[in-house]
């Protein structure tokens, strides 16, 4: 799974720390999400997309082979 969290975060000028605070997770969770090394729950994905003002399917890109 790939994410565009970093891209949209940069657009809104939000730091990892700030985004973590907004969705009530640790900064490390945001780091690993951005690296594509953690698959979030639907709730967390929804909260992040809401915080970044973007649709979930634009933020998380699933590889069909996975």
């Amino acid at each position: 799974m790939k994410t565009k969290i970093k891209e949209y975060r940069a657009k809104l000028n939000i730091t990892q720390e700030k985004l973590a605070e907004m969705v009530d997770v640790r900064r490390e969770t945001i780091i690993f999400l951005e690296k594509g090394k953690y698959n979030p729950s639907l709730r967390l994905a929804y909260n992040i997309s809401k915080a970044l003002q973007v649709n979930i399917d634009e933020l998380f890109i699933f590889d069909d082979e996975e």
Partner: protein, 201 residues
């Protein structure tokens, strides 16, 4: 831990149990209980000291804690089985109950910490090659440890009926398996520390 109340209740219970053990003169158990409480609450302790608030308990933390608790439980069962073997095989190395319980709790705590660090930091920081190497080394360590324990435990049971060749093999295993185990541990530690030192950004 969910909130401050749960954290303080947990710490209070640990302190009370430690005091009871001290009163019963079971000092090693008291030390293990205190160390265990600090290990289990290390995130909360650190966050309360540094930020004066509880750390966020997000889904990733919960997942990692669940997996670490599962591994600790497995360790508890394995160590218990080994100890039962110690008692039933009539070997002269039967430990005192206090030391047995201390060792049991300590090993469960160590497995919990290693598992948590692995899932929280190392698994995400290392590449698939390092993870594969770590898995192979872990299998290597478990196999050499099991060979060593079985060799040590059943020497008296099978000693009267074994031939010279088997006895030589047994002696070889008794010396080779600790060396193999130590090499596995050193290899794992190197990869583990590498994973810990990679700064996530």
């Amino acid at each position: 831990m969910k909130n401050k109340k749960t954290f303080w209740a947990f710490m209070l219970v640990a302190i009370i149990i430690a005091i009871i053990f001290i009163a019963l003169e079971l000092y090693s158990l008291a030390v293990v209980i205190i160390i265990g409480a600090i290990i289990a609450g290390h995130r909360e302790i650190w966050s309360l000291i540094r930020y004066r608030k509880m750390p966020p308990n997000d889904e990733r933390v919960k997942e990692n804690i669940n997996k670490s608790v599962r591994n600790s439980f497995l360790a508890f069962i394995i160590v218990s089985l080994i100890t039962i073997l110690l008692y039933v095989t009539d070997e002269p190395v039967q430990p005192l109950l206090e030391y047995y319980l201390s060792a049991l709790l300590l090993s469960v705590g160590v497995v919990y910490v290693i598992s948590y660090l692995f899932y929280d930091r190392i698994e995400a920081n290392l590449g698939s090659r390092d993870i594969k190497a770590l898995n192979i080394l872990a299998i290597f360590e478990v196999v050499s440890l099991v060979i060593f324990i079985l060799n040590a435990l059943f020497v008296n049971t099978v000693f009267p009926v074994i031939t010279d060749e088997i006895f030589t093999l047994h002696k070889l295993m008794l010396y080779i398996s600790p060396v193999a185990f130590s090499l596995g541990i050193i290899g794992s530690l190197v990869i583990f520390v590498k994973g810990l030192l990679v700064k996530a950004s």
